[in-house]
């Protein structure tokens, strides 16, 4: 990349193993590991000019103009002055360089900001505050709460018991759940003793830098002992330290070698497909140019032989110039003259148009989010028209589609549903911000952020309705949440909850607000404040959650000594375990559950049962035995759990809303109407992803089928994919045989296939790993593309990028990736367009994105309005631009046949210079900056208008060819009409008008009129500015022409302005004007006829909508629909989706608690051999092979899901 980058390149003997020693900079330096400074910028002061120029001259056009410049200096060839090329070339280079420089400057700034963050480093036995960039491998650094992790660290010690630290990995994988890391005991004993830490001289041997976030292997040698290191002891750069006062870590990887940076794909120079097409066309044009010049050179040869050699009396050849040499020179002369087919102003104009359209995005108030005060931003100004061609959108889930906020929305208690607000007539009201919410002031411990609108529930609580109380008591007792009190800030002492899943947090918070405040817990007790009274429950057992059980229970003894079991779980599971006496209540509750599910809420059923002391003691005994059993412990425990969780009494159900970002379902609906396919790539669990898929309209009940791919081997996955294909398209099987026979060379684009019906596809991370293997990727892609929507869950950042790359490779379609976290960076960089959600904490995604805004639903405006317009404008611009320049140039070609192929220009040289710069520049720019076929409201009304962009209809090779044909026609008219009209004619006073200068003037005036009228035809949105530009340019032409052909200019520079008097002497002739009118009208008439007939015979979608707009002009367009999408869903969600197994154990083991750990209180450690715990968070299950425990997990998931499906799809009435 840069000269500084060179030393990286030379050091390519790949690092196989990393060796380092703590606190020994000398030793570590000998390996030349990367420093902690990061660099995303491209240039520095010295490399800017050569590198940038080198990049710019890689553009064919720029290089071409350089060649042209050289040609023009040769006098024999030069048919135009040299400065006509130099000035625009320098202008273009400067503008582009300036833009690149500012872009890079911004990158430098952000690098600097990150590099200059401070962190405490142990140097010379003292903690010193150092900049991030100065941190080196082998340093020991101290992190404090809420700090970003500086580099990839080996955790040494922490303030928390058992050397645990809590980290948030949102920046890495998007998950906001806290994760736990634990240091080795031997290093944990170092504590925060600086002296001891400074003496620490452990040596680490570990793997070389890589991008696997979930895996780490290494050893620590300290005091002669070897300790194994795994991922659980590593803090990765990009994480944030939470709930941990301090911790110490040893830097293992720094800067570019951290896993975070290794995961960021290379930033590549993005080009739009129009750009690429333009490059191809420019090449074609060069080819065409060479052809034309060859034809003319041959013509010249023939002419020289036949005529020129005879005409030497009056036009002698220079010494030694034979006909052959003359034709050779002619070739180059025509190269210069005809260069206007690719004028350099094309590139400048394209840049200006893109810049203008980027500004529109920045300026758009409808993409400004007032809540977070963030306007939309076009961070790249070169990709606008691509926004109008998007076919695939890859979206992150958390933070992009959802707000990652869980809200306790509704509940059903004892057959009564709470949560909806009704007006006097019994009509359900839409809950909006303005509605007055329930006042929780009676409860001093209430969480002020909690809002609820149904007043009847709080009434019920106040009336001490026993079921309602039991309901909330259950919520306050049955969970694994930890409570704490804030230590700092304004709200000091305020109660806060640390929930393992946001669902659970929402439930406990709801109970808190309704007067059942969970205060604290110990491994064997839970204390809650019940309607103001402090009560302590003895916690006897936690029957923990797992994927199969889909429920959790607690067994508690209340202060009065009564034993109860409280259970919450997936409704279907809980229902199976209810007592018959509840059957009536079940029916009512089922109805409510259906209603909740229909609104996309996550539901849970709650049940309880009182236990018999005697029975429980017996059970406890058996439980103890089972948990100390060596084989088959799990199933025995399960059986025990099963035994006690039966004959439960139903209390009710809860409904939690995983709050989507505003307008997400509507946006997705709009996008799908625009024929854009949305794929969700998330690191989240399958159930969560699926549920969100339903609630944001991506998956629908009406879909014929939603395929779940979760095979655990390459063959399984392929088979599942093939099966899906056959069920979608019975004929697909035969075709698939031919599909994978792509033999390395040249990737065949895959065609879109039509299937009958709508389908969805859900695939999870490790299946995806198989699906992305070379042998399976085509099957995967084919299946995925046949489906309406695709959800990939548990994917790593790199897999996200791989999916994007796969689609890019085989589908000739434009892709867009949208995300908010660092885990989305690779995909944002890989896609044609990357969009970052801004206004949130992490900025990584935004920094590497091309566009950023605050809300997902702005995407529809970005695409359907800005993108569509940009594409339309760019295409109109290109079509018109090529037309006007081809027409201009072709006239020279025809004239050649009448001037002895002598490279005589048709027009005045000044006209040639100013044609693109002055006479036609502003009108076409005006069109490309202001044009819109229909306004934004109508664009939203008819998302189908977006489809032509995806199909490249507005500008393609075909369209270009049409342009060329049209130009050919126009140029013929433009040459031969004046030719015939001026032939042998004279002025009305008998004087000469058929001279070269008058002919030039006549032709160029006709040309200008013709192209201006043509522009008028192209333009569909005549603002005052456009009109001014068009008319102004014509006026300008006459002003400039008369000025340049005036006496004064000639007297100033006789040889530069030889056209003196031509304007006066020709343009006062009626026949000249009649010729101009005839020529320009004749150029346009066939176009009008053609277009009119086309509109009548086969109108495009644009024509139809424009026609409709016209009809509706009197009546204003209807306001955009704001109806809430209600799905008649019978689908219900399972238990707390983001919940993970293992927390119950932790809670009872007391390891979470801030007090000396008490070993095995109540229950002994069950079944786990590992220290710490391994939550099934998303860090598990990444790597495709060689991890038996992962495979086992997947098995569990498969069965659970299938179970879940079969049960939850009963033919219930649609509500």
């Amino acid at each position: 990349m840069s000269f500084f980058g060179l030393d990286c390149v030379t050091k390519t003997e790949r690092e196989l193993e990393r060796k380092l020693r703590a606190n020994d900079r000398e030793y570590n330096r000998s390996f030349k590991y990367a420093k902690n400074a990061i660099k995303t910028s491209k240039y520095n002061v010295f490399t800017f000019l050569p590198l940038n120029l080198f990049e710019q001259f890689q553009r064919i056009a720029n290089a071409y103009f350089l060649v042209l410049l050289v040609l023009q200096v040769i006098p024999q060839i030069s048919s135009l002055s040299w400065f006509t090329t130099v000035v625009p070339l320098i202008f273009v280079l400067t503008v582009t360089a300036a833009k690149d420089a500012t872009d890079d400057l911004n990158r430098h700034r952000s690098d600097k900001r990150v590099n200059n963050r401070k962190v405490q480093v142990l140097i010379d036995r003292k903690l010193r505050s150092e900049k991030w960039m100065d941190v080196q491998v082998g340093d020991i650094i101290k992190l404090e709460n809420n700090q970003f992790v500086t580099a990839d660290l080996l955790l040494l010690s922490s303030s928390e018991p058992l050397n645990l630290v809590y980290i948030e990995t949102a920046e890495l994988d998007g998950e906001t759940n806290l994760k736990v890391r634990q240091a080795l005991t031997v290093t944990g004993d170092l504590g925060d003793d600086v002296e001891k830490l400074a003496d620490f001289d452990g040596e680490v041997r570990c793997e070389a830098p890589n991008n696997r976030l979930d895996r780490f292997a290494g050893t620590l040698t300290f005091a002669g002992q070897k300790y194994a290191l795994d991922n659980e002891k590593i803090l990765l750069r990009g994480c944030t330290l939470r709930n941990t006062e301090w911790c110490f870590g040893l830097v293992l990887f720094a800067g570019q070698e951290t896993k975070l940076m290794q995961n960021c794909g290379k930033s590549t120079f993005k080009r739009t497909s129009v750009d690429r097409l333009m490059n191809v066309l420019v090449l074609c044009i060069f080819g065409f140019l060479v052809c034309m010049c060859t034809v003319l050179a041959i013509g010249n040869y023939i002419w020289e032989i036949n005529k020129g050699s005879n005409f030497t009396v009056f036009l002698p050849r220079e010494d030694g110039n034979t006909a052959g040499f003359s034709s050779f020179l002619t070739f180059w002369s025509y190269v210069i003259i005809l260069n206007t087919v690719v004028p350099i102003s094309l590139y400048v104009s394209v840049e200006i148009i893109r810049l203008g359209n980027s500004f529109y995005i920045d300026w758009d108030r409808k993409m400004y989010h007032s809540h977070s005060d963030t306007p939309a931003e076009a961070r790249t100004t070169t990709l606008n028209e691509e926004l109008g061609q998007i076919k695939y959108i890859f979206s992150d889930k958390t933070g992009t589609l959802t707000q990652n906020i869980m809200i306790f929305n509704k509940c059903s208690i004892n057959g009564r549903s709470y949560g909806d607000v009704y007006d006097y007539t019994g009509q359900r009201l839409e809950i909006s911000e303005q509605k007055d919410s329930v006042d929780f002031s009676f409860n001093p411990l209430a969480d002020p952020r909690f809002v609820f609108y149904d007043h009847s529930l709080v009434e019920a609580v106040k009336l001490e309705n026993p079921e309602v109380h039991a309901f909330f008591r259950l919520l306050a007792l049955c969970h694994t949440v930890m409570a704490g009190e804030k230590k700092e800030g304004d709200d000091q002492g305020e109660l806060y909850y640390q929930a393992q899943s946001p669902d659970e947090g929402a439930l406990v918070t709801a109970a808190r607000n309704f007067g059942f405040v969970f205060r604290s817990r110990t491994p064997d007790s839970i204390s809650i404040v019940e309607m103001g009274k402090q009560r302590s429950y003895e916690l006897l057992a936690i029957l923990d959650f797992n994927n199969v059980r889909k429920r959790m229970s607690v067994i508690v003894r209340n202060p009065e000594g009564k034993l109860s079991l409280y259970c919450k779980g997936a409704d279907t599971i809980v229902y199976e375990r209810l007592h018959q006496s509840c059957s009536k209540l079940m029916d009512v509750t089922t109805e409510h559950l259906n209603e909740f599910a229909g609104e996309g809420l996550r539901t849970l059923a709650l049940a309880y049962k009182d236990l018999d002391e005697e029975y429980f003691n017996g059970w406890k005994q058996r439980h103890h035995e089972a948990s100390t059993e060596l084989d088959d412990r799990e199933s025995k425990l399960d059986a025990l759990y099963e035994e006690i969780e039966k004959d439960l009494l139903l209390l009710g159900a809860t409904a939690i809303e995983d709050k989507l970002q505003d307008g997400v379902p509507q946006t997705i609906e709009q996008l799908s109407k625009a024929d854009i396919k949305v794929w969700v790539l998330t690191g989240d669990k399958q159930e969560t992803a699926e549920n969100i898929g339903y609630s944001c309209n991506l998956l629908r009940e009406e879909m014929n089928e939603v395929f779940i791919v979760s095979g655990s081997s390459s063959d399984d996955v392929r088979q599942e994919l093939r099966n899906a294909q056959t069920s979608m398209k019975p004929s697909a099987a035969e075709n698939s045989v031919f599909l994978p026979e792509e033999k390395g060379e040249g990737v065949k684009p895959m065609k879109d296939e039509v299937v009958n019906g709508e389908y969805g596809l859900v695939i999870n991370g490790h299946s995806l790993a198989f699906a992305l293997e070379r042998s399976t990727e085509l099957d995967f892609l084919r299946t995925a593309c046949m489906c309406k929507s695709v959800i990939c869950c548990r994917v790593t950042p790199l897999q996200k990028a791989q999916v994007v790359e796969l689609v890019k490779k085989y589908k000739q379609a434009v892709t867009l990736a949208i995300g908010d976290g660092a885990n989305d960076v690779s995909m944002i960089k890989a896609a044609h367009i990357g969009v970052g959600i801004s206004g949130q904490e992490g900025m990584q995604a935004v920094l590497s994105s091309d566009y950023s805004f605050a809300q997902f639903h702005f995407l529809q405006r970005l695409l359907l309005v800005h993108g569509r317009w940009s594409y339309l404008r760019m295409c109109k611009f290109l079509r018109y631009f090529f037309y006007k320049n081809f027409t201009f140039t072709f006239v020279h070609f025809w004239f050649a046949f009448f001037c002895g192929f002598s490279a005589q220009t048709v027009y005045d040289e000044w006209f040639i210079t100013l044609y693109n710069l002055m006479y036609t520049a502003l009108p076409v720019l005006g069109m490309s900056l202001f044009d819109q076929d229909v306004n934004d409201v109508w664009s939203f009304q008819h998302p189908q208008l977006y489809v032509p962009g995806q199909l490249n209809l507005y500008f393609s090779k075909k369209a270009f060819f049409k342009c060329a044909i049209h130009s050919c026609y126009s140029s013929l008219v433009l040459f031969f009409i004046p030719y015939a009209a001026l032939q042998d004619t004279v002025r009305d006073d008998g004087k000469d008008v058929a001279n070269y200068q008058s002919f030039a003037l006549l032709t160029q005036t006709s040309l200008l009129f013709a192209v201006s009228i043509q522009l008028g035809l192209e333009m569909s949105y005549w603002t005052a500015v456009n009109t001014f530009f068009v008319l102004g340019s014509l006026v300008m032409y006459f002003v400039v022409t008369f000025t340049m052909y005036s006496d004064g200019m000639f007297l100033l520079l006789p040889s530069a302005f030889p056209f003196i008097g031509s304007a006066r002497n020709s343009l006062n002739q009626p026949n000249v004007w009649l010729t101009i009118v005839l020529t320009s009208i004749l150029c346009v008439l066939p176009v009008v006829t053609y277009r009119f007939l086309l509109i009548q015979l086969c109108p495009t979608i644009n024509d139809k909508v424009m026609f409709k707009v016209r009809q509706a002009k009197a009546t204003l367009p209807p306001p955009p629909r704001r109806t809430r999408i209600r799905r008649s869903s019978t689908r219900r969600s399972g238990y707390a989706f983001s919940h993970a197994q293992g927390y119950g154990e932790l809670v009872t083991s007391g390891r979470f608690l801030r007090r000396p750990a008490i070993r095995s209180a109540g229950f002994p450690q069950v079944g786990r051999t590992t220290t710490g715990f391994s939550p099934m968070g998303r860090s598990a299950g990444y790597s495709p092979t060689g991890r038996p425990q992962n495979l086992k997990v997947s098995d569990v998931e498969v069965t659970s899901l299938q179970m879940y499906r079969t049960i939850t799809d009963p033919p219930l009435s649609h509500t």
């Binding site: 005879n310 108030r365 002895g900 030719y979 015939a980 009209a981 004279v986 006073d989 000469d992 003196i1060």
Partner: protein
């Protein structure tokens, strides 16, 4: 009370321009515009076409080729390049009055005045009377910049060098008598050429300005002695020279030689027999060129040119036809209005 809400500076401005809501006229190619438009344009074109056609038809043109390739022609004797100062005579008769003013042109065909190398071969400064360029003509003039003895040529360049040098005299034969038809050679060049673009050096006598220079190689007379009869018609502002220097657009061209509008001929050339005496100097046979003389009168639309009228008529009619076709298509297929 109106609460003034303070806007964040980051919030984009709400202007018609930034929000792309500029008021605009949005025309579309609807039948209501296109079909009547075609009819109107068609009718207008037909009207103009008829006018042009009639005007053009009324213009009289008499064109006589005198290249002399035809054995029977008197000028045949002059085709031999060795013949010097050859004079030939052409006889012709006019049946009806040739309405005046009559313009007398000479025409050349297959002559590439529009060739680039021919065209650039001149020195504008020299022709503007710049004495510096008398001594050192522009390099554009090559190979007619210096003669073999390195004397600068004035006027230099191919265009000047190839000045047309046939001269004509017209006689009306009245009762066997040859009456000279007077030619008017004044003001046949563009006013701007005569007054601005070309200028003699401010030296009197004019001849002195040309000391140390040589006349163009093909010329028999120097530029300051082109017209013996009228001393003011000499040098660069000689009318014939000016006419020649305005180079033609196409290989076949005619250039104005004289006007016939004096004495008995103010109304034109009466019917009768005429004889044209040509001093035949200009060689065109080497490049298969033709020489001709043209008598023509003019109208408001200039010289005779049938093309423009016919073109207008044809295109006008096409417009009308197309409008009918479009009307049929529109009535039959109509714009499908449903979505």
């Amino acid at each position: 009370m109106v609460r003034i809400k303070k806007e964040s500076p980051d919030r984009p401005d709400n202007t018609a321009f930034t929000q792309q809501r500029l008021p605009a006229w949005q025309p579309i190619l609807s039948a209501g515009i296109v079909i009547p438009g075609f009819v109107l344009i068609g009718l207008a074109f037909i009207g103009v076409g008829v006018g042009l056609f009639i005007t053009s038809r009324d213009i009289q043109v008499l064109e006589i080729d005198y290249t002399g390739t035809d054995q029977t022609s008197d000028c045949n004797k002059c085709t031999n390049p060795n013949t010097k100062n050859c004079v030939c005579t052409l006889s012709f008769n006019i049946d009806t009055l040739f309405k005046g003013p009559v313009f007398f042109y000479y025409g050349l065909t297959n002559y590439f005045q529009n060739h680039r190398r021919y065209g650039v071969s001149r020195d504008y400064k020299q022709l503007y009377g710049d004495l510096a360029n008398f001594k050192d003509p522009s390099t554009d003039c090559a190979p007619y910049r210096l003669d073999s003895r390195n004397n600068p040529i004035v006027p230099c360049g191919s265009v000047a060098n190839s000045l047309f040098n046939d001269t004509f005299k017209l006689y009306q034969i009245v009762n066997g008598q040859r009456n000279v038809v007077p030619f008017d050679g004044k003001g046949i060049a563009w006013w701007t050429d005569y007054n601005v673009k070309f200028k003699n050096p401010d030296v009197t006598p004019l001849q002195n300005a040309f000391n140390g220079t040589v006349k163009p190689l093909f010329w028999t007379k120097a530029v300051y002695e082109l017209d013996f009869s009228d001393p003011s018609n000499n040098g660069f502002i000689n009318q014939d020279f000016l006419v020649w220097m305005r180079r033609a657009a196409l290989p076949n061209f005619r250039k104005l030689y004289r006007r016939i509008a004096e004495e008995n001929y103010t109304n034109g050339l009466p019917a009768g027999n005429y004889s044209l005496e040509i001093s035949y100097n200009y060689p065109v046979l080497s490049f298969n060129g033709r020489k001709k003389v043209v008598f023509s009168n003019v109208s408001w639309m200039g010289g005779k040119n049938d093309f423009l009228g016919i073109a207008y008529l044809v295109i006008g009619s096409l417009c009308v036809v197309m409008s009918v076709v479009m009307l049929i298509v529109y009535a039959k297929f109509k714009f499908p209005e449903d979505d």
